[in-house]
């Protein structure tokens, strides 16, 4: 039986309180690293745990931390990415509101490991209440001596601040986040140099997702071998799955990585609402390729989903029933990427705009068959041709929707209208 690690006791009202958190054994891991572990030993432990980034890319956190140069002579910075904006994703919000001290403790351990004395939690601007909760937790941590100068007599100093964004999906991309933190437009940077070498203020910087950092205290407490025994060997650990769309029961579930998607939808999500049939599932936030109802017998982990041509992404599972118009759904998503494109790269800025117009034509029955081919070709010209992955994120859904639901697009052209009279 899997015991919850990240969301344990999260529905108790006092779960936000530092005293309650400490009674549950909280901050013991941070105390442990301060007293008995060198920063490099912390990095080695997290690397051995094979904790893969929960923001979407799945890059091993310990390996990332290891990229911090030894003697740069510059201050190091930890940035916690709490910009949660990928459509279908709402897990970090739950952690920040229900278990803020776990998020903080993960930040503290990571900051110690990368020899950083300042950590910023970059939270999306709309999360006003969540930012307030984190600030309250930070002030409690200062009061109890877990933040500030000479923490618990260790000689280690750490300051932590909440930094609110102001409404821009692109700031979830790590170099966009860095530019935004610097007070500018969230325009992603060309890599290299990678943030670990030249990040915020050109200093060595690590950017980690909230859920990734929240996994760290338990790795320190129970060891990397314990962590690796949860879920599949190559993508171990607990995972927060977000269920949204046409389900009986939507919400976040903490379960081992590698859970079967079908089980997730029918057992935990209660199946499709109103007794409808399943049509399609986007398993990892709106950026990843779609799966048909026949393709959902698959494990929810980075490698298994890659094998069936999609991605775990942020584990934002978006479920669509039989009445959903796939053209209209894709139009909605493409509108999102057009709106959120930062405008730097021509293929993304112009391509998403053009794709949205083509999709609107198709949805409203004003397109020709050639427009469908054009849309497909266009997506191919956006993919892999931009500074950051937003272009890919816009192109991948287009390619996969056309590949798997093309007859539905053609039907719009033939009938000269939307066969389902959709209005998303």
């Amino acid at each position: 039986m899997f015991e919850k690690i990240l969301t344990k006791g999260i529905d108790i009202p006092k779960s936000r309180d530092i005293e309650y958190y400490r009674k549950q054994g909280g901050y013991k891991s941070f105390e442990k690293v301060l007293k008995s572990m060198e920063p490099d030993a912390v990095i080695a432990e997290v690397r051995n745990a094979n904790l893969r980034g929960r923001g979407g890319a799945g890059f091993p956190a310990g390996v990332k931390w290891g990229f911090i140069p030894k003697n740069s002579g510059k201050p190091h910075y930890l940035l916690c990415n709490a910009d949660e904006s990928e459509p279908g994703t709402f897990k970090d919000r739950l952690l920040m509101t229900g278990n803020p001290h776990l998020v903080l403790e993960g930040n503290m351990i990571a900051a110690y490991a990368i020899r950083s004395n300042v950590a910023y939690i970059y939270i999306r601007g709309e999360f006003v209440e969540e930012a307030r909760i984190l600030e309250e937790a930070i002030s409690q941590a200062y009061e109890k001596g877990y933040l500030g100068k000479n923490i618990l007599g260790s000689g280690y100093n750490l300051d932590m601040y909440v930094h609110r964004g102001a409404g821009a999906y692109i700031c979830g991309e790590e170099t966009g986040l860095i530019e935004s933190l610097e007070g500018k437009r969230g325009w992603p940077r060309i890599k290299p140099p990678f943030p670990a070498v030249a990040g915020v203020w050109q200093s060595p910087t690590i950017v980690n997702n909230v859920e990734t950092l929240a996994c760290v205290p338990s790795i320190i407490e129970k060891g990397s071998e314990w962590f690796k025994a949860i879920g599949p060997e190559k993508s171990p650990g607990p995972k927060l799955y977000c269920l949204s769309g046409h389900l009986e029961k939507t919400g976040v579930h903490e379960l081992p990585m590698g859970l079967n998607l079908k089980e997730l939808i029918y057992e935990y999500g209660g199946g499709i609402r109103n007794g409808k049939k399943l049509k399609a599932v986007i398993p990892g936030g709106s950026s990843v390729p779609v799966l048909t109802a026949e393709e959902i017998d698959v494990a929810m982990d980075f490698d298994s989903l890659a094998q069936v041509g999609t991605m775990l992404g942020s584990a934002g599972v978006i479920v669509m029933d039989e009445d959903t118009c796939m053209v209209d759904a894709l139009l909605n998503m493409t509108h999102f990427y057009r709106h959120e494109s930062c405008g730097q790269c021509t293929p993304c800025r112009e391509g998403t705009n053009w794709a949205e117009r083509l999709l609107r034509k198709i949805e409203h029955g004003q397109a020709t068959m050639k427009d469908i081919d054009l849309l497909e070709e266009l997506a191919g010209h956006i993919n892999f041709r931009t500074i950051c992955p937003l272009g890919d994120a816009a192109a991948m859904p287009i390619a996969s929707f056309l590949q798997k639901f093309r007859p539905e697009f053609e039907e719009h052209v033939k009938q000269g209208k939307c066969p389902l009279n959709s209005n998303l």
Partner: protein, 157 residues
């Protein structure tokens, strides 16, 4: 019109700028503060912040205009942000939009004549499990329906 932070806002301003090694990094938090203080980011506010922070006004506008939360024109007393992205759309956000547009006789981005309400369709608010979701000023209202939202809006003072 002369624009100036109150004593309390100035105190907060100093606290904010103390968190960063460079003044420019404080710009977005300070814009939030200014918007709370003045309601929206007018050109006078931009000029005031430019003077205060020693950042060129054009650069402040360049940054402010990139982010959807900064209001470069006045909004209503109650600023209604309606999430319109896929998970909310699958659960009826369009119907809510059409209802609000008709009820208040405004379009996306508009403000009612009496200045009480403004309506803005926004992208994913990160609350997809309780869709559709609406943000009124700072607060989220989740699992919305036309009826539930009407009740909330009608009870606002």
């Amino acid at each position: 019109m002369s624009v100036k932070f109150s004593e309390a806002a100035l105190k907060e301003y100093k606290m904010i700028t103390g968190r960063y090694p460079q003044m420019r990094a404080a710009l977005i938090p300070v814009l939030h503060l200014a918007q709370k203080e003045f309601g929206w980011i007018s050109r006078d506010v931009v000029r005031y912040l430019s003077e205060l922070m020693q950042i060129p006004a054009t650069e402040i506008l360049d940054t402010a205009s990139f982010y959807t939360m900064f209001k470069l024109k006045p909004s209503g007393k109650y600023h209604i942000q309606l999430c319109s992205t896929i998970s909310c759309a699958l659960r009826g956000s369009r119907q809510i939009y059409e209802h609000l547009a008709k009820k208040y006789n405004i379009e996306d981005g508009g403000v009612t004549e009496d200045g009480r309400f403004s309506l803005l369709k926004v992208e994913c608010l990160g609350s997809c499990g309780t869709a559709p979701v609406v943000q009124i000023n700072d607060d989220y209202y989740e699992d919305m329906s036309v009826e539930k939202l009407d009740k909330i809006l009608d009870e606002l003072k």
